[in-house]
């Protein structure tokens, strides 16, 4: 599965995109990535939970329009982290 990071997260992951082998839901995927990259958790989460200024897209669909963090992701999917503050 392909993961795409915005520039700000790329400062932590040192890459803008990558292929990972994973299947499970979005929540598990995030845990998996936070294991892989120390420092990622600190950006993705704050006191109130998952950072509301980051939107997650699975195959270009906002997970809030899918099953949220329980959205299942699999081999050929693309998961993108995109900043929320833009447009209008």
């Amino acid at each position: 599965m392909k993961i795409v990071y915005p520039i700000i997260l790329a400062a932590v992951t040192r890459k803008k995109e990558e292929e990972v082998e994973f299947s499970g839901d979005v929540e598990a995927l995030i845990n998996f990535l936070c294991e892989k990259y120390k420092g990622l958790k600190k950006v993705l989460y704050n006191k109130e939970g998952f950072n509301k200024f980051i939107n997650i897209y699975v195959n270009n669909e906002d997970i809030r329009n899918l099953n949220g963090f329980e959205t299942e992701v699999k081999a050929n999917d693309t998961v993108k982290f995109i900043p929320a503050i833009a447009g209008g």
Partner: protein
């Protein structure tokens, strides 16, 4: 300098819109002591007749790219007021801006910043009005422009952008899909100025002038209430900041009650009414394309402002919007875009619900020109055809 609205981290003046620490929105920081020294009523009154009479309050360090936006008509709407039961209803009418919507105010600042940052191209995601405005300003500064619009927006709006030479990319899906693609473009092309993405902190500042103008036109007093259209919520948020700015420098002393208007079912109004979190809307049906943003970036700030000032938000139906455009046109001689119809329809609801007193001073913001959405009215009237004078008198 820019500062994160959430964690307050400060970063230098750059084409950047999100905090590198917490992803929160960035805003421009000003030196208010210095501005207070520099400004006065008299100085502003002697200034140019455009939004740039308030240059001291805008974040630019060079000669602005000014097509003449702002300082538009400010009207005491006695006829409409009489019908609605309001003695002091004022309309700030931005339909006469250079490209016929309020977007010229924000674009003027953003494009000036793009020149400061020596950007190679310009871009945006647009529900229509921004497209026309950006394309015109880009033509003036001779920069190539890439505009992402949702499929199905008014052809008249794309034509406007196209005649100025913009590259227009229609995105299958909604505005939010167009916005997502524009963001990915901005991420991968840091030397392109996407006015409502990587230039967003500067861009939004332009709308503050809508607050300044209302105060100046009301003889240096704030109105009791304002009502504004909302798509992303950026406009309402900036107008609020505008009143705050004028308080900081002593040019007015109160913040009005803020009311917001969206098409039926849209998320900011729903969240205000239900006292809940903003929940993005995926599919929408409305004819008010200019306000059809399902995932509003500034929804949370707009909602906070409405709640804090004890205002309210309304989401009239498309029919109410059309009727309100007609009512305004027939009482005040102003043909407004559907966003303006949404504002008047929402205002009517607020008055009926007893949220506005008869003698309060209220400013309703009309943000676009009716000819942009004239299509909607083609079925609202009929014309008679004749070939001879006799037929006219017979009728």
């Amino acid at each position: 300098m820019l500062r994160c609205m959430i964690c307050k981290k400060e970063i230098e003046d750059l084409p950047s819109y999100i905090c590198p620490r917490c992803f929160g929105p960035l805003e421009v920081v000003y030196d208010w002591e210095q501005i207070k020294e520099r400004v006065s009523r008299e100085k502003i009154e002697r200034g140019v007749e455009s939004m740039w009479r308030y240059k001291d309050f805008l974040p630019v360090n060079r000669e602005p790219v000014d097509l003449g936006a702002g300082f538009t008509r400010f009207i005491h709407a006695k006829n409409l007021g009489e019908i609605l039961g309001l003695k002091n209803l004022y309309l700030l009418d931005d339909s006469t801006n250079p490209t016929y919507s309020f977007k010229d105010r924000v674009v003027s600042v953003a494009v000036t910043k793009a020149l400061e940052f020596k950007m190679r191209a310009l871009g945006c995601a647009s529900t229509g009005n921004l497209a026309g405005s950006l394309a015109a300003h880009a033509a003036k500064v001779k920069l190539p422009t890439y505009i992402f619009v949702p499929a199905g927006i008014e052809k008249t709006k794309i034509v406007q952008a196209a005649v100025h030479g913009a590259n227009i990319i229609e995105v299958e899906g909604s505005y939010d899909d167009a916005n997502r693609i524009a963001m990915e473009m901005a991420e991968n092309n840091p030397d392109w100025g996407f006015v409502n993405i990587n230039l967003r902190p500067y861009y939004v500042e332009g709308s503050k002038t809508l607050a300044y103008e209302a105060v100046e036109r009301l003889d240096w007093r704030s109105p009791d209430q304002v009502i504004l259209p909302m798509a992303s919520g950026a406009l309402l948020t900036s107008v609020y900041k505008g009143f705050q700015d004028f308080i900081k420098v002593g040019l007015t002393d109160t913040i009005p009650i803020f009311n917001g208007a969206q098409p039926e079912g849209f998320p900011i109004v729903r969240a205000v009414r239900e006292k809940a979190e903003i929940k993005p809307l995926k599919e929408s049906q409305t004819i008010v394309h200019s306000l059809a943003i399902g995932n509003p970036a500034n929804g949370f700030t707009a909602k906070d402002i409405i709640e804090e000032t004890r205002g309210y938000a309304e989401d009239p139906s498309d029919r109410e919007v059309v009727d309100s455009v007609l009512l305004l046109a027939k009482t005040e001689g102003i043909f407004t875009e559907l966003a303006g119809g949404t504002v008047i329809a929402a205002l009517k609801r607020l008055v009926e619900a007893g949220r506005i007193d008869r003698s309060e001073v209220i400013v309703a913001y009309l943000t676009g020109n009716g000819l942009k959405t004239a299509d909607v009215f083609l079925n609202e009237f009929s014309v008679r055809k004749v070939s001879k004078y006799e037929e006219v008198i017979a009728w």
